[in-house]
Symmetry: C5
Subunit: 360 residues, 5 copies
């Protein structure tokens, strides 16, 4: 994970203030959404691709569970058409199309509307997953860069009893579980990265280290902002008491809640750890500076006085002009005497600094 | 956004302590308020400008929705006259005229009174928007520097079904939504600015950088103080259970609540990011200092001892006076010998510093 | 506001642990309390000064509202006598006399007991205001350094309808409102001071600046400790559901609550701002140090090597003793050659430092 | 308060994990507990010392209030015997004997069990006070280093009406009040110490100052940990609705609660203040360093170039060998010229540094 | 505790996102779990080892309390077989096998499921303990590195009345109590270590000290993350109102809750203390730097000017060329005069620095 690439921490796309609510945030260049349908029950399993949302209408109520996965939310007509079939509220459609929502759960009279965010890429950005849980059907909407639900589909195909008998609420749980659990590898990667940084900070920090710690803090800031609402959303689902969710499935949702809590706590703990790394980094830098200063001080303190003495006897006062003028220059032991004084001065300073503990 | 212009973080205008409540905070020089009226329903739409508030009385109850927008709240008579027509409580009038209130929602027996704050300018200050939602009418009051409701008016004129059928509560929602959403561009600008600062801090921080980070922190401090209450106010509206708000509109208010939460979280996240920027800035400054010190130490450590040696042989002890006095001066290889010693000393220090890793 | 004078942040007077509750904290030198009485109703207004609290007894129940303002709470007999007339609980009396209470509201069976704190002086200390709201009367107790209720009295005298018709609860509100609102000028002064400090920190911080920031932080620490409880107290009054407070007055108390919230938030925001100022101050100091170091490094790095070269050719090796000994001294261009070398060295260092960006 | 002596912040004595609950933490060398009994009512007062806990049994129910104060909780047999007489739960006995509990209130079916902590010594440690409030009796247990209840006993002996008529709940209140109030002098001492430190930090901080600030922070950390639970415990008592506590006494407990809140807030505010002191200390140290650096830079910047010039004209190039070799040496005004250059250089640097504001 | 070994703060093992819930996290190399059974009641005690979980079935309901302790949770068949006998929910089995859960309590219809974490090793990691409390039986699952329940077993064997009569809820309490209490020695070790570090920081901090403080902070970060949920879990047990827990045992659980609170508070307090240590460490480092700088400044400030003077009179201007050229060289007292000037300069600087307080 390079610290050059930075995860976004920006306001997402927003409609101009004062825009009519229910306005779809669409992209004129977006292709029509791809729609995958799986209709299943304990005994049956039908998979098909649908090009026109209107084809979904006859499928309603045919199988115990109808799962409609809409891939790509930028195409206004597709979205509107799906909304018409399942009678979705314009606000729900708006939230589906504006892919910068926080995770949340909102009860509408005929269905539950949930938004979750799936982490993708490295450094992690997130993609919005919208889930509509209605009577007999589950609608999922993905932003469109890659499909994230293959493991869930595989489980349906394998025909495990719990999945096939589970009803739409169990399917919604399975999708939500897949989303929440996909934060674990992301956090694992960050944890890994933090441990590498920790080694680096303690052993050999470079100026780049601070930038890397900052980069990871920024990622965690974004992640925490995204992850926290999942916990609240799942909790709202658990406490909501909607009759769309059986007590059976509630047990499973409790498990998702546990995972959301663990993720939030990890992100929090990693952020604290990165704070500690920053402060240890600063202390290491400060210690190094101290060491550099000590070397400078030792050398300068010893040689500056010595240079002065040498300079003293380099003065050109005329010994012939008076007997007061630098008689040492003519002494028999003048030079050794000067060297001795220098030795004493150097020794004195060394002793002083040794006593201060600067020489260790 | 220059850091010279700073947003205000001051106590607003306040009445002298002990003043009679309901005292209007007015400005003797203020012109009479401009009053725009839109009366509409599914089938009709009347727009007019009113100069005397008393003209509003006959309009009451004529159309399904009567929207009276009062522009400028500094003119006591205008305000009082409007208050008389709609029987507003003196405290509500006081809050409308004293434009330094926090966002809030207060239920009165016959109407709901809401205050929101509209961001304007750059760096952002805020203007107070007061909203009265009564039976059949909506009153809005703007401070007066510019009109912020044109997009809403446009939607009424366009005659969208939801707007025209929506009742006064829907209109109040539309106004509130326009206010809350206008924080998105403000935060987007700040986010932009933070990203520029981030580049600058990591690449080439100047002393001015700290001042700019501080300036943005100050703006965010002010913004958070203003933004937070909106969330609480909308929540109070949602939980309040007033019969003035239909369950229909409640769904839309939930959307406003979501936006208010997102804004608050963004302001919070930006403030944390700016904290990180400040600490990374300090670490960069500290690193630079370290580098400067290292260069000084390297140069001083090498040349100070060399200068001492040069000074030593610059002493004027008389070699003729005794054979102990600087015999080196007369050696055949005295000068090369001195140069060699200097080379060895310099080499030794370079090796020492290379081993310390200071030369990289 | 000098930073020499510091507001108190100390434990107030406290009775020795184990003392009988209801013990009055009195001052033997205190003069008897002054007692001002205003008895009023829509139609009447009587003002008198009372020297003996017993004179209050016949006044009970005579007028719709009886306001007894006790000035000075250090005189035990006065206080006890007032307590006897209005049948106050010993604990209430103790709290009134021990003037270091937090703001609070306590319901007693026959009356409501409120404590608020009035800011006085600069840097602000606070004085305790005790308010007893009973049936038909309001008792207020002031510590005694100055009277704070003149604006309220003036409003009674002016005979505004709301005041005269308002009942004792409205009077208690008016007093509370006067107390809470008197924090606005205090905070305004602090905000002013902070803005001056901000200019100073960004433009030209002196070591004294840190002390001044600290002084303001200390004041805010004390203020926040004092201000916060007011919000809780007024909230308790609003939620308490006492029949002593009419729903009419409740609307007004909601206004006081709003002001208490604003004050608390301002104190909080100012404290955050002062934190930012401290950190910007440290960064400015650090930057200055950096600049000083850079100048030192530039000068030392250039001249120390030059001095060495000069020292080199100042050595006294005897050119006559051998042709190896400093032949440069006898060269025709020896001196220009030495100057050239010096120029090259100086230029090299300048180039190196220019490349490092230290010369800008 | 020396910073050498540090208050404990350690895990207290703990039983080995897996030990049977109700195991008494006893000390084999502990002497039998001393037991003081006061039986009193409005009309009577009996005091006696009891050596064998069994002697307590006949006293039960004889007087309106029976106060048994057990001094020393390390002697297992004494404790067990007292527990048998008053039918205490083994867990209560365990908590009484393990003197490292947090303050708490626990309702048992027949009595209320409260633990409080009494501050002793300087720096303050705390001693555990256990209180059992039953029907007609109050049991208090002290760790044993000194007796803390003399003021309460004195009030019983003095026979004040409220004390004598008060019932066991009033006695329990009086004891709790004595404990909570004894934090005031402790905090007062700390506040005093902080003010001294504040003077010192602002005037003349020594390296020792940081250690002293740390010491006080540590004490406050411990104190806050101890003090906080008292508030919660008294609150639990107030909200508990036990029939052992009359509404009369509840008013008094509310007073204890107020004091507990004040204590907690003071400890919190002092801790914040000490944080501020630490940061101001660091800023002062940093400023001093700056000043030292400035002096060094000024002197070095001026004299290093001067020395270079002096060195330049100390070179021994032979003016006789060529007219390019140091002709200045033979100039008539060579020396004054050199001095002039030096003066100009020194003046230039002084002007540069004066402009930078380093000379002030 | 070396700071080289670091406790883990990483995401634990996690199933791939989208995996079927109830998937056991198993280890193909794991040996079958060891199963120890103790069936006891007031009158009886049977201990046996079981190799095939199916053998457990006939033991159900035979004795008042059946304690089945499963050692090692990595063997899928063993776990599944135990689950079949006691009809455990697949999610419970999944949580038991995935040993990276937070402490929690979950009510299932027929049993209570609790997870706790037992600290082991130094620096402390934790092992997961899963507890199932059903009607007449308690199931405990340990990760498998060492058995932690011997003290509990011993208490059963010793036959204390409370243990033998206590029912399965009392047994579950005893196990939980053993787990929670085992944090005390861990925290005691950390507290010890912190006190050593505190001595070191105040007396003689080395660069290694910061790394050691960081290491302890990291351990505390991990510990707090693990410890906190225990408090919530035990609280959930207390508030849950399950009929599987008698009011008798509730009193004991309250005791466990108290301990969990104390542990959490200690971890929190230790973390705060370590923050303080870090900041005191930085202040000590900063002070040392100051001292080093002061010595450098004193020496350089004194000798650099002296050297300049010496250099001045080392210049070779020809006194014979002009009477302006260094006439001092020929003065009778030229040399003593130069020495005097040097003395005055040195003395002046010493006086200046003494006045600044740098010489102390």
């Amino acid at each position: 994970m390079s610290h050059k690439k930075r995860s976004r921490l920006r306001v997402g796309r927003y409609s101009a203030p004062g825009t009519r609510p229910g306005t779809l945030t669409t992209d004129p260049d977006a292709p029509p959404s791809e729609i995958q349908v799986i209709a299943y029950g304990p005994e049956r399993l039908d998979e098909l691709e649908v090009s026109d949302p209107a084809e979904l209408r006859p499928l309603l109520g045919q199988a115990p569970v109808l799962w409609v996965n809409v891939h790509g939310v930028g195409h206004a007509e597709s979205l509107q058409a799906v909304g018409d079939v399942f009678q979705l509220h314009p606000l729900a459609l708006e939230d589906i199309s504006n892919v910068h929502q926080r995770a949340k759960v909102e009860p509408y009279s005929e269905y539950l509307f949930a938004i979750a965010r799936m982490p993708t890429g490295d450094p992690p950005n997130t993609e919005q997953i919208s889930i509509i849980l209605g009577r007999g059907f589950v609608l999922t909407f993905q932003e469109g860069q890659g499909d994230h639900f293959d493991p869930v589909r595989e489980r349906i195909r394998l025909g495990g009893a719990r999945m096939r008998n589970g009803g739409p609420d169990y399917l919604a749980y399975a999708v939500l579980d897949a989303v929440v659990d996909s934060y674990f590898p992301v956090l694992d990667r960050i944890g890994n990265h933090l441990e590498t940084l920790e080694e680096e900070v303690l052993a050999d920090p470079s100026p780049d280290t601070a930038a890397r710690i900052h980069s990871i803090r920024r990622t965690l800031l974004g992640l925490r902002k995204v992850v926290g609402p999942h916990r609240d959303a799942v909790n709202a689902l658990l406490r909501g008491g909607s009759d769309l969710i059986t007590s059976q499935t509630e047990l499973f949702l409790r498990d998702v809640y546990d995972h959301a809590v663990r993720i939030t706590e990890l992100a929090e703990a990693y952020r604290e750890l990165s704070s500690d790394l920053m402060s240890i980094y600063l202390s290491v830098v400060s210690n190094r500076m101290n060491e550099v200063m000590k070397v400078l001080t030792i050398i300068a303190s010893i040689f500056i006085p010595l240079s002065f003495i040498a300079g003293l006897y380099g003065m050109n006062f005329d010994p012939d002009a008076s007997r007061w003028n630098m008689p040492e220059l003519g002494w028999t032991v003048g030079y050794p005497f000067a060297l001795l004084i220098m030795l004493l001065v150097a020794g004195g300073f060394l002793w002083f600094m040794w006593r201060k503990g600067w020489l260790s």
